[in-house]
């Protein structure tokens, strides 16, 4: 059996831009639009799809999309893994192809969130009511506290958070699909309204609306369907292990352990047979500016503490040596939770295909990496290659 029969490639992408849209436009309708764009991009029809996986956190059951896309009888799996939903959906679909269930699969994610910070139900996360009622169960608190601990432990300054956010908005300015398209200076970001110190409003991504979809094909079909297919060289997902500092944790052990991002990244690089240093364009979860900073290190893209020099030299901008989140990331696009991980994949795919427009990385690059992280401590990573 040729390896092409167990390889999986991305042969089509579709994005319903993230942001704020007509209140009457449902998350599911955006999902259907993204699906159709991805099918068109791949030059296939919904009837050709032999397996579908969809993710949404708050906007309905993805498999009901069949009533809009067509009742073809296709197997359709629903995924609901917080911010890591789309990464898990992608892994599920890729495994279906590798298992021989289909040679063509669609992965779709969508969400339409209310304005303002997320409100989580304690019961959903195994906590009693006191935890939320007394004001401890708020995601942005965790972001701020993990950031502060990380900056303190590695001698980094709060201003680095503003530098990361400024880079995100410069990328947003270059991306016609981004929600936040106005560049902001680090000073403006530092001086903005404080949300959870050290995080100001521009250092935290906002819940938003949008959808994303990709078409996956078995390796031996990819070249026929796509001029420049992007190989899903590896995909890995992990939950947290003991000692990892995670969102919604009333306690931690004194001895720190590796985060699920560390585990998922190691697994994906091992499976792909490459080192983090080989990555030429990357997406890492930037739910807040600090998350981009520590995820750069947790995924192995840089050493702890090296982020200051990388940002000072502009190395993580599209023109730098290690471009990260070139579409503006969560900070410039907001986060429709079910779709966010696919937005990341799509950004890296269009970079590798040389069709990223004004934000195109020179080359174009040939090795890409994506990383999502979600509550209550899950991560999914991919290595993408042309």
């Amino acid at each position: 059996m040729s390896s092409a029969r167990t390889e999986v490639s991305i042969v089509g992408v579709g994005l319903h831009p993230f942001g704020r849209h007509d209140p009457a436009l449902t998350g599911m309708a955006m999902g259907a639009q993204a699906a159709r764009l991805a099918l068109t991009d791949a030059g296939v029809s919904w009837a050709d799809i032999g397996y579908a996986v969809g993710g949404s956190n708050v906007s309905g059951k993805p498999d009901t999309l069949v009533s809009v896309l067509g009742l073809t009888g296709v197997p359709f799996v629903n995924v609901r893994n917080g911010c890591a939903t789309a990464g898990v959906a992608l892994a599920t679909a890729a495994n279906a192809i590798r298992a021989g269930e289909t040679d063509l699969a669609l992965v779709i994610g969508f969400d339409k969130h209310a304005r303002g910070a997320f409100a989580a139900s304690p019961a959903d996360y195994g906590h009693a009511d006191w935890y939320a009622e007394t004001g401890l169960m708020i995601t942005t608190q965790f972001f701020a506290m993990k950031d502060r601990r990380y900056l303190h432990a590695h001698g980094l300054k709060d201003r680095l958070l503003a530098q990361v956010a400024a880079k995100a908005f410069r990328c947003g300015e270059l991306n016609p699909d981004a929600w936040r398209r106005k560049a902001l200076s680090a000073d403006e970001i530092m001086g903005a309204r404080m949300i959870n110190p050290p995080l100001t409003q521009y250092m935290i991504c906002s819940p938003s609306e949008g959808a994303a979809a990709v078409v996956l094909a078995r390796g031996d079909r990819a070249a026929d369907l796509c001029e420049r297919p992007v190989r899903l060289a590896a995909v890995a997902k992990r939950t947290r292990r003991f000692g990892s500092f995670e969102v919604f944790a009333p306690w931690l052990p004194p001895d720190a352990g590796p985060s699920p991002s560390v585990d998922a990244a190691r697994a994906v690089f091992t499976a792909a047979g490459i080192a983090p240093a080989d990555v030429q364009v990357a997406q890492v979860q930037d739910t807040d500016a600090g998350a981009e900073i520590y995820h750069m290190a947790e995924t192995g893209l840089c050493e702890d503490g090296a982020q200051q020099e990388l940002l000072d030299l502009g190395e993580t901008a599209p023109a730098g040596r290690l471009p990260i989140n070139t579409d503006g990331g969560c900070l410039a696009n907001g986060e429709p939770v079910g779709a966010s991980g696919l937005r990341q994949v799509i950004d890296v795919v269009v970079q590798l295909q040389g069709r990223a427009g004004a934000r195109q990385v020179a080359g174009p690059p040939e090795v890409g990496f994506t990383h999502v992280y979600g509550a209550p401590g899950i991560s999914a990573c991919t290595v993408l290659r042309v």
Binding site: E133, T134, I138, Q141, R148
Partner: protein
Amino acid sequence: MTVSAVDPMLFASLDPPRLAGSRCANCGTVTFPVQAGCAKCTGQDMAPVELADRGALWTWTVQAFEPKAPYRVPDAGFTPYGVGYVDLGNVIVESRLLGDPVRFQIGMPMELALLPLWPGPGDGQVVTYAFQPTGDAG
């Protein structure tokens, strides 16, 4: 006035305030609050343990905006409040913080206190736990 805990599970005692955790008989891992199984070794032999009432501030922030429900807004209205993790030696506990945030620093000594939340039955008072910089209690 009757003082009652927002959740009795949290406390070994209210006067003096002491937090209730559990310790794994197999590996010694301490949890807060009490839980039935050990997150480290997967053991299920967990015994109650009273946690230290002093520790060091491990990280912190301020909740500057009013959270959505199920957060319960105080009767007097929302005011920003401190939140942090306090290292008690064998476990690091997440907690509301009392005191002026401009003084908060990682590593500073903290002590356990009670935080009034809302009225309880009769003329009672419902409280939760909080930590404050050591010496802040009058």
